[in-house]
Point group: C2
Chain length 329, copies 2
């Protein structure tokens, strides 16, 4: 167990079955990487052992049912974290990031070559886990989600420093980039746990809305936190030209539009330019507006659960939707 | 159909069922990429439409049976080419390659960012195709092969310019890097076509030996051809520090050892250094030795087929083992 998880998802942990399943996921992640020979596994272990929220396995377990005999659910939970880790490793290449989860990135330590291969290795390991008969539905959802994630990252890359970016386009990007995998985790967990297609679809919709709320809060934290709180460099989005909701708000709202547009179009988003944009955001409703959007999607996520007649983890999923928007890191 | 395929594998083409199945693979590759929206699919189509030998789909079809109703075999054949294409796109990032199959690489045209994502997109699309019930065995073989490929590339990266590299270590690298996927294509094709586990294992062993022969010949072509014949830059291996069989021979054989070691240890493997090494190879049995090794593995491949009682494509697979070592590009 790691601290971040305990802090954020304590509601889930009060259930010993969930705790047991998450511990088992952790053991299997360890067995799949640290206990295996070869540099790919060793580098993967470096990233996995740095911890993380384990939000995706938690969603799989909550939606699939946390019983100790739920082998397909555990396979999906482990695969979900491997897919997430693979995409983080590849993202760090794209971003040229030096640290992640408070430790140096693979590309920073071993170069892009090693990072590309380690990510590919983890994708293959993840999909290999889903080759079982009872995880066929999960497999289809997960492979679709990875394709959406790639497409979302690609679109984000195409829209860097584009001051014409609309809120709708931003939501469409983060839906693919982040929400698609969270939706797949919920839907795939449910299917692997034996839920009906209707329940799996409702849980996937929950995951999609949760993912939108999660990413908006992530972007807000990047905008307004410092490096130490985040465990990774703050203001990494705007520095790379990624425009998130507070900035899009400023570009649409009258009072600071020209100044913000000038900073971004001039690609002057270093510490000084960012400080000016941050000040502008604080003088307007930019941060409150973005946060309201996150609350809106968290509310929609909760609404998705209403149609499901029997859902043992309902309370925990509702609590999770609250936690996602109240988190500080 | 493309010219290279016709030239190399004409024996297979005399069978109209094989031809039909390969055409269907080509149509499906097109549908999965060129016909789909989004930049990931568009960039993938750029690479796939540049052609290639389609050796992997051919192996799947020959081992799985080429009948027109063999849906699982076709799924595996398309997935195999997608996996191969994804790994080529990612290799081109590692190698910093500018051209591939005679056209500019994705990383050269659109940058590493786009190349990482397009490869990931194709891996996910490939594994998505294998989510069906009748391709579960194929799925397990393919995900293991991708992990081996990553590990092989990683080991190759660790051994650059290492003049202590042994022939055994080289064979171990190319077994993972190349032979593992060809083995998986044969085994997965067989399983998808309904073969017994014994037949699938024998065909996988055929593919593994064929892959070793194929890669040794590939390395020989890189060593002794020119850019135009190859459709990609020649001497790309040694320029990057990848030591292949003729060079390993020279490093073990007495007469040119010191001179070759000096060039490689000094990382002076540009045109001049390479010309000296090539001359040394021509003055010794280096090229003949490497070619004999390729013939040895091609022979072993043929031997693997002997244990299979009923194999409609036996003649074509035997011919293929011959073609792999007699090809000129």
């Amino acid at each position: 167990m790691n601290m971040t998880l305990e802090t954020i998802f304590e509601a889930a942990h009060r259930e010993s079955a969930v705790l047991f399943a998450l511990d088992e996921v952790e053991r299997r992640l360890h067995r799949l990487t640290a206990a295996r020979e070869g540099l790919c596994a060793r580098l993967a272990a470096h990233v996995i052992q740095a911890g993380g929220k384990r939000l995706r396995p938690l969603l799989v377990i909550l939606c699939g049912g946390p019983g100790p005999d739920r082998e397909p659910v555990l396979d999906v939970a482990v695969a979900a974290e491997l897919i997430h880790t693979a995409s983080l490793i590849h993202d760090d290449i794209l971003d040229g990031a030096d640290t992640r989860r408070g430790v140096p990135t693979i590309n920073a330590l071993w170069g892009n070559h090693a990072a590309v291969l380690t990510g590919d290795f983890l994708f293959a390991a993840a999909f290999g886990l889903l080759a079982g008969e009872q995880t066929r539905g999960a497999m289809a959802l997960m492979t679709e989600a990875v394709q959406a994630m790639c497409q979302g990252e690609m679109e984000e890359g195409e829209s860097l420093f584009q001051t014409s970016l609309t809120e709708d386009a931003y939501i469409a990007h983060i839906e693919k980039k982040t929400a698609s995998l969270l939706a797949a985790c919920c839907g795939a967990g449910a299917l692997a746990g034996g839920a009906s297609p209707e329940t799996a679809a409702a849980l996937a919709a929950f995951g999609r809305n949760l993912g939108l709320a999660y990413q908006i809060v992530d972007d807000l934290l990047d905008f307004s936190s410092d490096d130490c709180t985040l465990g990774k460099p703050a203001n990494s989005d705007l520095a790379r030209g990624v425009l998130t909701l507070p900035v899009i708000y400023l570009l649409q709202e009258g009072s600071h539009r020209a100044a913000v547009e000038e900073i971004i179009a001039g690609r002057a988003c270093g510490p000084e330019g960012f400080a000016r944009i941050k000040k502008a955001a604080e003088e307007t409703a930019a941060l409150a507006y973005a946060y309201q959007k996150a609350l809106h999607f968290a509310g929609q996520a909760r609404d998705c659960l209403a149609s499901i007649p029997y859902l043992p983890s309902r309370e925990m999923l509702l609590a999770l939707a609250g936690r996602v928007v109240s988190r500080k890191s």
